[in-house]
């Protein structure tokens, strides 16, 4: 049976229950600043879409694992979401989040590219917004296309928060600038500020979704 969401009428929690990050050109360096800042006690799940060539296996999890205090892996279909784990979308598949009786699950899709991208940031952000609602933080980083703008709008419409990398600081400014044009209410931050805020998020804040 399709799971119905539990949507408590409560206000936005003080800390997010989950974080989604989207990046394209110039994104790997930006993601690196954020992920290496996560402390060992960090217990919020993080889902990342970084646009990559579809032909090759992704090395992102291998690159980040030795540099991060938290586990980093490539998302597997129907894998239960674990706290404090960083999941990268695999190349050539969309990454989505689904509900189950045992809590959120990762789900993959081979549907058509969105904004010429698979994985698409919009697809991840929209699915995660549906599951985590006001508990979601969406972060749009460097990139040279408009993927992520609709997704961030969905995060905000569901009551979640949005951070956008300061376009002047991003090595490719189109993606963050597009996200800000679509979502003027999102916070504009430099990478160092984002990293410091993530590092300061207290452990044990995640609610069960």
């Amino acid at each position: 049976m399709i799971r119905l969401g539990k949507r408590p009428a409560s206000a936005r929690p003080p800390q997010p229950d989950a974080i989604v990050i989207g990046a394209s050109a110039g994104g790997v360096e930006a993601i690196s600043v954020l992920l290496t800042a996560l402390p060992a006690r960090f217990d919020i799940p993080v889902f990342v879409v970084q646009h990559l060539p579809r032909e090759r296996p992704s090395l992102l999890a291998d690159i980040f694992t030795p540099r991060c205090a938290r586990p980093v892996c490539e998302a597997a279909d129907k894998e239960p979401v674990a706290r404090g784990t960083v999941y990268f979308a695999p190349p050539d598949y969309h990454l989505l989040v689904d509900r189950s009786d045992d809590g959120p699950l990762l789900s993959l899709s081979s549907d058509e590219p969105v904004c010429f991208a698979r994985p698409s940031i919009d697809v991840l952000f929209e699915a995660a917004a549906d599951v985590y609602a006001e508990g979601l933080l969406g972060i749009v980083l460097s990139g040279a296309n408009e993927d992520g703008s609709d997704g961030l709008a969905a995060v905000l419409a569901a009551g979640g928060r949005g951070w956008v990398q300061r376009p002047a600081e991003a090595s490719s400014s189109l993606m963050p600038a597009s996200a800000l044009a679509r979502c003027p209410q999102a916070e504009v931050l430099g990478l160092a500020d984002m990293a410091a805020r993530l590092a300061g998020m207290p452990a044990g804040s995640s609610r069960k979704v």
Partner: protein, 280 residues
Amino acid sequence: MSDTRISGRVADIELQLLIEAIYLKYHYDFREYAGASIKRRLTTAMDRFGCKTLSQLQDRVLHEPAMFPALLEFLTVQVSEMFRDPSYFLSIREQVVPLLRTYPSLKFWVAGCSAGEEVYSLAILLHEEGLLERSLIYATDINAHALQRAEAGVYDIERIAGFTANHQRSGARTSLSEYYTAAYGRAIFDKAFRKHIVFSDHSLATDSVFAEVQFVSCRNVLIYFNRELQDRAIGLFHEALCHKGFLGLGAKESLRFSAYAERFDEIARVDRLFQKRSPA
């Protein structure tokens, strides 16, 4: 850019009602499909049909005869390519074909064959390996329109360059151009393949096993199912497979979270080939 979005409590209720309505009226069972993907597909369909809510879509699906087949295209059609993930086919040649050679006759099941790209890829591989003459391929899908396209074996000529590049990387022994005729912007695959292929309507959600086979290929179909339905489908494959039969899945599909994880051996990790384990 689309502003259509299925979210919120009411939309979740409408989604469940629509899925139930489709099941009750048309006997297509999407109740155990993964929710996030089906929502995306329905969002696209709502845009196309100009429906503002899932309730509007449900009304039209129940009352307009042409509507359900059109919606089914959105819910089921999977765009693939011939020899997608060429190394999968290379692994079949290296790891599976030597064992297949030991059988006097062979049966294959391509489950969720959509428009047939995977079926012709397998048939061409078997032809190249000298096994096609003794082979029968069951190609099944729930979408009758997709099955018709698969049976026709006609693809846009623009796609052939990609198919050819994939084929070459799959350990090809021949040129893909030997198997199709190009005309009017289309490539038509050799009708001789069809005497080795049975195209048939079959649902992994509601139907049962129909034959014993040596090999099941089901790629990028299970990701659209929830875990319960994945287990049902893998159970069908397990039942259909002969002793030591082979199962091939999509590049990012696994048996890790399945109830059948212990009943298969992984024989090619990256290429997702599994072999049915002997009963202990």
